[in-house]
Symmetry: C2
Subunit: 150 residues, 2 copies
């Protein structure tokens, strides 16, 4: 029923995908959450700073979260609760038709000082296109329950 | 038609909102992007680590992006292109009915070393409930065009 702090080790990796970034969902996501010219239509995007229709970075981040739930992160007991994000980069824009996968690596594990029953896992997730190009990196700190003593 | 690097100064603030976090959208966002028990229904959430239905942090981040476009960030010439995120925190969970607003402050401005026509703006955005409680902070680095010389 899910992993505990004691089951994890630094260097462990997890992967999921692929998922296709559909043009219509790129546009509808942007209409709701990021209505800027480069995300809304080919015509508006051509005249914008990007020169072409690209996905909102928050759409890519949200799709990556789905890939994390689908297997690109350890299945933790109680679910995955983020304590915070230490950084996101979007080195290359995502465009319609891009096929994305995510791979995560545990880069740090430490006991929580404030909460004895918990640990903290630092997870670095890389989201890539089918050709291996990195479109997003994210480093997250996630709370992980320890195995109950009884 | 939009602000340039030369128009901005450290300490400038921008605000937008409020927007209500609706229960049904919290759940439908989670079904697509973050299908974990604490985001999917009251029943599943009660048995989860959160103990109650809470919004995905990526939903809060996406709604905050919308508030940035709506006025919580400077209207830049060419639109707002993120170079990266330096950190996100979610100190308190967002629950159905929360009414969120966002306020941003320019905390740093510097010229781009690699691209002479551009500057970089560091923007710290705080998302708050109606009672002033902070539910998210995010520090973003955003590319800003300089005013053309001719």
């Amino acid at each position: 029923m899910g992993l505990h702090f004691d089951d994890l080790f630094v260097g462990q990796t997890f992967s999921a995908g692929p998922v296709t970034m559909e043009r219509d969902r790129i546009i509808s996501f942007a209409r709701e959450f990021d209505p800027q010219p480069m995300h809304l239509s080919e015509e508006q995007a051509e005249a914008s700073i990007s020169g072409k229709l690209i996905a909102s970075g928050w759409h890519t981040a949200s799709v990556t979260m789905r890939l994390l739930v689908d297997g690109a992160s350890p299945k933790l007991a109680g679910g995955s609760v983020g304590a915070g994000i230490e950084g996101i980069t979007w080195p290359v824009p995502v465009v319609p038709g891009d096929v994305l996968s995510a791979t995560s690596e545990i880069i740090e594990l430490r006991e929580s000082r404030s909460r004895p029953g918990r640990g903290l896992m630092k997870l670095k997730t890389t989201t890539t296109r089918a050709d291996g190009t990195i479109v997003q990196t994210i480093t997250a700190v996630i709370m992980v329950p320890k195995r109950p003593l009884i």
